[in-house]
Amino acid sequence: MKILTGNDLKTGAVTWWDGVQWSLHVEDAVDVGEHADTILAREMAARRVNAAYAIEAVKDEQGVRPAHIKDRIRAFGPTVRPDLTLKPADPTAGDWVI
């Protein structure tokens, strides 16, 4: 599947296109199929996202998982600071990245 990611213009936070708006959670990401360029142009022009791009991902029982480790780290947070990730209470959450 092809999903979209970028950063919030004001805060820089990593966001994911959920079909309607930009979510902080990669599990909300939706397959944009052939519409990536259209959505990216529209959303960046409206400043609802910054520096956005399309990536490959797969959807399995664990949810949406970006194909490349760099985007998985973007989705999760720094693996060396679990306290700063989106799942600070889950000590095994980082396993998803690797």
Partner: protein, 542 residues
């Protein structure tokens, strides 16, 4: 320490307001990201893996207590409670909001700091010896010369859009503690047989994808001409450096392709021309700057003995402190490399604590080292035990300077959008695995980069590690034999790479080969140079 004059302060204040307006225009949609990006980069604001990252300049690594305290406050007020000290003697914050950027720069300006020259194809923040002004072996304090370079290079209209970024380092000792020969221009302040001060110029060094050691192109430029000579070096580069290929745009490529002799000839020709233009800053300005770097009021006759009865303290003194030029004083390094910790990271609380300790024990002064540690440069020996007790109680007393746990590591793929692999977890695992043997292994400089840009100086590590992306999987190459000291050398790759656990095993095996083969007081590097790569390869891959 240097104090801003009205011109310095006015320039920095004006830049804050200019950038505040640029941010406002970006947020309101008056300028696009393509238009805004070069503007934010000129103010040290990157967009990294998780958020905006702000890199703050710390000229030649020197800080006052007030400045250090502000860095801690910024970590807590605008970031997530910590900062990362870098191999360029700067500090980076990883979680900055664009809407806060103007306020942060204003806070920095209030303590004579900024984020200018920390990005872009300009002359970057000049680095220096972390023991400058304290070292017993220096010819002079190199910082006034670094400060003069700062003033000359800041907003220099001719050099604001160079073919590529440009890094300079200034030292004044034969022992190189600033990786001087691995800079675009490395300057060693020297004294000639007549007792005159001059500058030896090393040009065309660097790491990155094409590592090169800078050759000396002029062993003695009179000190009242060294800015003019720097201008000549830059001008030849600016004229002929390759702008068509980013990967061949650094000055090292130009010097290599022209050859040292031809490049030097062109510099000397330009230098002769520039001398007639009278561009050198007046000596009075250098003297004005030098006066601000006068020695602090050392106590004459301060006791030179240390009570070493506490073995943990004695170990820390032996590992982390160096001789001071002033009897009764010592330069103490605070390791930011606790066992299993993140190299170079410090919490806001720790940063403020170090600021307070500098105020109490080191004449208000701190230094950031290129090895991502902090130095209190002027500590009275009589105060050292009390200082150490506070450090030890706050997780800052690790006695591992230049040992295997004192690892340089770039932020890597955990933070950096350029990285191909994570650096920090590898550093943590090596630290945990080998720190128990650190004293037995002795001096071993281990440096890790998460990509070929080499921010972690892997080419120059006694042991270097380079993280690469192999079909979407992290892989680590091992290098042996590098050095960034006066005996500068570039490490050689041992062979095929390893996964994360494999590279830790390989490093351990390399240390075992060293311990099995060392003679006398040899360091790891000495043994490697004597016995060569073969025994290491055999142990690692055999």
């Amino acid at each position: 320490m240097y104090k801003y004059d009205t011109y310095d302060q006015a320039m920095v204040d004006a830049r804050v307001e200019e950038f505040r307006d640029q941010v406002r225009r970006r947020l309101e949609g008056h300028i696009t990201e393509d238009q805004f990006k070069p503007l934010r980069l000129m103010n040290g604001l990157y967009l990294q893996l998780h958020a905006y990252m702000l890199r703050v300049a710390i000229p030649y690594g020197t800080l006052s207590s007030a400045q250090m305290r502000m860095l801690g406050d910024i970590a807590d007020k605008y970031d997530r409670g910590y900062g990362h000290f870098t191999t360029r003697q700067n500090i980076q914050y990883n979680w900055i909001k664009l809407e806060d950027a103007g306020d942060i720069l204003a806070d920095l300006a209030s303590v004579e700091m900024h984020a200018i020259q920390t990005s872009g194809n300009c002359i970057r923040n000049t680095t220096s010896d972390q023991y400058a002004g304290a070292a017993a072996d220096e010819v002079v304090d190199p910082r006034p010369y670094a400060e003069l370079i700062r003033q000359w290079s800041t907003f220099h209209p001719e050099f604001s859009f160079l073919p590529r970024k440009f890094k300079m380092a200034v030292i004044a000792s034969d022992i190189d503690r600033a990786a001087m020969k691995l800079h675009d221009i490395g300057i060693q302040i020297v004294r000639n047989d007549a007792g005159e001060i001059g500058a030896a110029f090393y040009v065309g060094g660097g790491m990155g994808r094409t590592p090169m050691i800078a050759p000396c192109i002029n062993p003695f430029v009179p000190i009242d001409q060294f800015i003019t000579y720097s201008e000549a070096c830059l001008r030849v580069y600016n004229r002929y450096g390759r702008r068509d290929n980013k990967y061949k745009a650094r000055i090292k490529i130009l010097v290599h392709e022209l050859g040292k002799d031809e490049y030097t000839r062109q510099v000397e020709e330009e230098f002769a021309h520039l001398l007639s233009q009278n561009i050198e800053p007046p000596l009075a300005e250098l003297e004005r700057i030098k006066a601000m770097f006068a020695d602090p009021p050392f106590e004459a006759g301060a006791p030179d003995e240390l009570d070493r009865s506490d073995p943990d303290f004695a170990l820390w003194v032996d590992n982390n402190c160096v001789t001071h030029k002033q009897p009764g004083y010592i330069a103490a390094t605070i390791s930011l490399k606790p066992v299993g910790g993140i190299p170079g990271d410090a919490s806001g609380e720790q940063i403020r604590l170090m600021a307070d300790l500098a105020r109490q024990y080191s004449f208000d002064e701190l230094r950031v080292t290129h090895a991502q540690n902090i130095v209190l440069p002027h500590v009275k020996k009589a105060d050292l035990y009390a200082l150490w007790q506070v450090l030890e109680a706050n997780g800052l007393g690790t006695p591992n300077l230049d040992l295997v746990g004192d690892i340089i590591a770039c932020p890597g793929l955990d933070y950096c959008s350029l990285a191909n692999a994570r650096s920090i977890p590898v550093a943590q695992k090596i630290s945990q695995r080998l720190s128990g043997k650190a004293q037995e292994i002795g001096e071993l400089k281990l440096k890790i980069s998460g990509c070929i840009n080499a921010c972690g100086h892997h080419h120059a590590g006694h042991i270097g590690i380079l993280g690469v992306d192999r079909k979407g999987v992290e892989n680590y190459q091992l290098l042996l034999g590098g050095s960034e000291a006066a005996d500068t050398s570039l490490g050689q790759i041992t062979g095929p790479g390893f996964d994360e656990d494999g590279i830790v095993d390989a490093v351990e095996k390399a240390t075992q080969v060293y311990l099995a083969n060392k003679e006398g007081g040899e360091r790891f590097l000495d043994t490697y140079r004597r016995i060569g790569m073969a025994p290491f390869k055999e142990a690692i891959y055999g």
